[in-house]
Symmetry: none
Subunit: 208 residues, 2 copies
DNA sequence: CACAGCATCCCCTTTTGGGGGGATGCAGCA
DNA sequence: TGCTGCATCCCCCCAAAAGGGGATGCTGTG
């Protein structure tokens, strides 16, 4: 069956370019294109799309929110993100929202069609720097856990307990040492990690 | 400068195939090949490799452990994993250990050289199903963090600020609302997430 | 020995978390 | 229409927890 594609992109010129680029490929069918997330949310479900090509930077509701909501009504929809932004935050949020691939606009023309094909085949096409960022997410989570900063064994042990949700007193009991001692260790951890609160420390521990 | 490559692969036939495939490409130089992780750890540092092509399933020390240890002495070494296994666990552990790419053996011949080039350029080449698994890692962490509980937009926004290390007063100022209001939202967040502290909430937010 | 790093413990102030209440506006539904 | 639920906003009290800073002893090592 021919995959049904929608396009969500606010710049009219870019949108029309995308549509004609996609339409030129006989293997898929463009069933709709929208300039805003709100418009897409309203009209897309009736079109039963299989794929969506989505800009992130939309006026009003962002592309990321749009993905999340589209997925509510169209759980099998596969989304390819298209953006000029390469910052990690957007990448992770888009992937978490349910995107299946992430291309930067720079390499649209050469990769768009193959990327959609790849998605259909169960892949996850990404621009190379995006892919590297994703991989580095894993590097960081490991680095933070073991070798980024020189925490003493005791400090590491205590930080571990905090990440598990223990309060200082519980950690103290668990380790059989005094409450105040734990507190001092925690203060040292904060100094070494350059943070001022437990929340920040936990964040650093979990993802660098 | 010509990238210096090493190969770690226990099957002699496959190893020799790899070496000749790589050697046939004039843009890189194979400086060593090893049948075990132990052998590689002992001899690789003296060869100053830039890239490593690594099997995961090695006798003795696994390829994953090998990566981690090689990275200790050769922090700039980029590693391309080569394996027959596609299970998520190995993928994530390899990436955490510091691998930059992950290919399944099936598509070695067609992608190996381009994958190494991609790594050199800051990319993260992955077989499509591997990439999809990585992406699904993010889907899952989102599903756990939010599908299970429905935080309101405002609550999500505030939790986001807490994750960034703000204290309640800072978040209040940042949002231009009252301190007590923020506190109320935070309490609601805790109730919905079934946690009793900021640290726990942050952990749930970051990884479900 | 002096010194650095670690683990331990104590005092003081600020911030949180757990209870309450109460008010508004908005969407959906009988 | 009025009712109900939900999100948002604000306020109070109080006890517990967390953060800052200071201090002691113990172990290595130059």
């Amino acid at each position: 069956m021919t995959p049904r594609v929608i396009v969500v992109e606010d710049d009219r010129g870019v949108r029309e370019n995308l549509v004609s680029l996609l339409a030129a490929d006989g293997r898929l069918k463009v069933v709709g294109s929208f300039g805003t997330a709100e418009d897409a949310l309203k009209k897309a479900p009736a079109l039963h799309p299989d794929l969506a090509v989505m800009d992130i930077n939309l006026p009003g509701l962002s592309g990321i929110d749009c993905i999340a909501r589209l997925k509510d009504t169209l759980p099998h929809l596969q989304v390819l993100i298209l953006t000029v932004y390469e910052d990690g935050d957007n990448v992770f949020r888009a992937l978490k929202a349910g995107a299946s691939g992430y291309l930067v606009k720079r390499d649209i023309s050469e990769r768009l069609l193959s990327a959609l094909q790849e998605i259909r085949e169960g892949g996850a096409p990404m621009s190379c720097h995006i892919a590297r960022q994703v991989v580095q997410f894993f590097h960081r989570s490991e680095a933070a856990a073991t070798n980024s900063v020189a925490l003493s064994p005791r400090e590491r042990e205590i930080l571990d307990l905090l990440v598990k949700g223990m309060i200082l007193k519980e950690a103290a009991d668990h380790l059989g040492i005094g409450f105040e001692t734990v507190r001092t260790h925690v203060n040292h951890i904060y100094q070494k990690l350059h943070v001022r609160s437990r929340a920040e420390a936990v964040v650093k521990y979990l993802r660098g």
